[in-house]
Amino acid sequence: MNALEIANASFGYGAEAALTGINFELKVGESLALIGPNGSGKSTLLKGILGFAALTEGAIRVLGQSPKKARALCGYLPQANTRDTDVPVTTRQVVTMGLFAELGAFKPLGAKTKIRVEQALFRVGLTEQAGELFSELSGGQQQRAILARALVSDPKLVLLDEPFNGLDQPNRDELLETIKTLRSSGTSVVVSTHDLDLAREVCSHVLLLNKKQIGFGEVNKVLTLDLITETFAGATVELDHHTVTTTDELE
């Protein structure tokens, strides 16, 4: 079974497609970096995989199922602006939320559930902050807490939307280690990022996007000067000791 099968797909909001011509397969255990400038459709593709963005054309299977049915098998780290830090919940309570769909309304948090929560906290290095209010964590720690929430249900596919944005070096390194561990445990990972070196470090495959699919394949085969130039048109990127001119946040 493939983690993702997307055939000639377009995704969008309402009737209009924001992203077209997506066509690739990702096997279980492989990891994919989505690379492209701002507004290129990286987040739209992640939302399409979760069934939040409409499939306007083509076909998509996630872990062999429709996106909506596969949601419970996926772990998702949204961009940082989706949570309300006024809600007074602790880090441990946030991580436990990742098991609510499985637990239902009334099933008590048993010893096994509590162990899973503690393990998820340990995986992201937040054991000491477990009892602190989420709002009192730093931005990087908050990202790691949400990642722990995504991982606590042992998902088969993990989707990370710009997880490295705004992180300082220690938090970045922690997150990188967590993604590497996920890969080695056979979990499929899809991560949207601007950082080409990071994509090389943690991903087996790359999908280049700019409103449409520019290229897909193994990292070394796709991160070429020609394709990078086609994806980003304008500003400057370092790639294999060459300088490529592109336009946006990589500057």
Partner: protein, 290 residues
Amino acid sequence: MLGRAAFFGDQVVAIFGYPFMTRALIAMAVLALASSVVGFFISLRDLEFVSDGLIHAVFPGLVVGFALAGSAGIIAGAFVAAVLAAVLLTYLMRRSVAGNDAAVAVVLTSLFSIGIVIVSKQENYVSQLEQLLFGRLLTVTDLQLIQIAVVATIAVALVLSTWRRQIFRAFDPVGFLASGNRLHSTELILNIAIAMLVVAGVQAIGNLMVLALLIVPMAFARLVTRRIWLLLPLAFVAPLVSSIFGLWLSFEISVNQQVSISAGALVVVSLLGCYLLALIWYLVRRMIRR
């Protein structure tokens, strides 16, 4: 000093020995308990304006129920209107037909004006309107007390049975949906619970002042603490203490001064007094920390 306090305590206990005062206090205690639970999520989700919309939308149901069956019909009419209004508002907010606030405002003003048109067709309409808008806390009957308790229990049960979903939804709606939870039904259940609490509170303190009960207790609690386990007890105690004080004051003024003042209004004013004290305490504490 102690003797004076004991005398005052005896006086308060004696006043609440009257059956009509006992019923009023029990009604307010039930409403305080329910509002602490439902109000928690109104506050977390910033649903204050939506709550106002639901309150106004319930009004035509009150009026139709009253027109068809007198006081006994109020709860039934309000119950039906509450469910319909909650479904309508949830749908409009989800669809973003005209923006959340605009959708609520359209429903709020249209349904409230329909209610006024219907009630103005009745005889003695000013008196009836006053009862529906401001309630009659001191004339709550045994039957009404049971109705209040049943409807408030439904509101609390709806929230408690979806507690985990409501917390997750309030904290992170995108993560909530991505984890395989159902967003629409979770929002609808909370809106119905708010509407049920409106229905429960309307006979005691009226259609207009029930908003204070939905919003002020949790606003008070959030000024006092950020500990989640302490929010609900504080949001229960504040309206309970306000009810005891407001009812006592209403009784004292009417007996000693021969002046009739709405007991419901005095309870709400007392509650606002609690909020004001908490606000001052919060501001002072913040200034000291700086």
